[in-house]
Symmetry: C3
Subunit: 204 residues, 3 copies
């Protein structure tokens, strides 16, 4: 059951990140293939990086076709549904936030399952969450959201940490995954809507 | 025999991509070492990424010195033969197209040899093809050709798909590799010379 | 003893590169989390890449918490000690040079320990050295130092080559590591202070 939940989280995160990637590609006037490439890159870079780092080769996104399938589906939706490629569409931000939450908890859970120590499992959850958006932004030559945005990597780390703490306290995975994912999304929501942020270094 | 062909294709692709990388470095006025770094990066990033993803570690380009050799050879040719670093030299585009064709078919063939399913083998062929140019462009801070150019990733995917289909229909590898490589190069040729392109998403 | 030395070199390189990453993040006005992310990325990307390429998974930086620890320590120092985030601080350049020297020799030594051939061991030393700075610069959208700066990758390669030669001549590792590291730092020093550089390609 936990395996199935993990796959659903992974695919859900892939889908929403792929939407954000395809929308970024559409905004930059790329052709349909560029849209598909960016959908796949954004949807799967985080998970592939996580799998390479924990030694789970070949990565799920390469071994199973379902990841490719949901990425292409997202690409097609963006390509054929005009409003999504509007330059000022805030949806790209929300899909990104949703994907972050999905991947942060799924990444932490998978790293735990591969026997990593708790601190590193939480960090790998964060890496899984931020990896896809990072590659998406680099490919269209923008400073990655993770570095510009408020409460981004920290939101992912919070979600992943909750999953890891739940695991250490022997709470059922379903519960800690739900709480962790919601916490991550909530932090991003407050950052986007109400400008919550962490302190900056004072430049002299 | 197929192993030898694979190595020749890999080295051929490495050589022409290394030429394109070295020329890009020359255009940006890098020193001889920067030229060598970009030659190696452009010539080998796609293959190394492919090998990491299919779990073939250490990657061929790290294990065998020949890949380094042809990359450095390409770097030296560009460094000592002035006309190649002319800012408006169209050769960079053609070497890139040639490398794309070589790597697309070699990548698909190697992924099949490692037992990946046909759809993923075709995609890994594409990744192998576009990876080197992508890193080359990121390193000199340009939006990657794969995202700007017409019929680029799609040309690589076409070539790789032909190789995979040939494999499924039990056609000799040599034949399908030849047809696949030519198809990929032909599509890039039509895109560069006659402006063939795929539909773009309409921005609202 | 050589294992301990290797770990100290790796951690030392991680620390100074993490400082340079955190300072780059501070200059770009990132929040405390962005600083930590860039500190970890700059401090560990080179080592993680090396470990993935030689097949040492999971990479040391993921398996052992000490790498994370020194990266975060560097991040905190930069965050709380104002003068370090001054826009024109030359320290970032010197920390980078120091990290390059540490990693070049540690990378070569580790690649030799994993049985790579001497030429590739020297190159992996170079990759370990330049990887962290490369990712740091890409993340804040600058052409990587390795491509802009004089005697950078070449300095790393010199240091790594000395380690490899020492290994082939059966000189004690400590000696060749010391000489290699000093040679790498010396070349960067001469490049920064006295403008030493390699020849450039003549653009026509």
């Amino acid at each position: 059951m936990i395996r199935l939940l993990l796959i659903l989280l992974d695919l859900g995160g892939t889908f929403v990140f792929a939407l954000s990637g395809a929308m970024a590609a559409g905004k930059h006037r790329l052709d349909i293939f560029g849209i598909m490439v960016l959908a796949f890159a954004a949807g799967n870079a985080g998970g592939i990086l996580r799998d390479l780092l924990i030694g789970a080769t070949p990565p799920s996104a390469i071994e199973h076709l379902s990841y490719l399938g949901v990425s292409l589906l997202a690409g097609f939706i963006v390509f054929f549904w005009d409003p999504l490629v509007n330059r000022h569409n805030p949806l790209i931000l929300w899909f990104d936030a949703l994907g972050l939450a999905f991947f942060a908890v799924a990444g932490a859970e998978k790293a735990l399952a591969f026997g990593l120590n708790p601190v590193m499992a939480a960090l790998l959850g964060m890496v899984t969450g931020v990896g896809g958006g990072m590659l998406r932004d680099l490919l269209v030559m923008q400073i990655p959201t993770v570095l510009r945005a408020d409460l981004y990597a920290s939101a992912a780390l919070t979600g992943a940490t909750i999953v890891v703490l739940g695991h250490m306290l022997h709470i059922t995975s379903v519960g800690s995954i739900l709480v962790g994912g919601l916490a991550c999304f909530f932090l991003r929501y407050m950052a986007i809507r109400h400008g919550w942020h962490l302190p900056h270094a004072r430049a002299s």
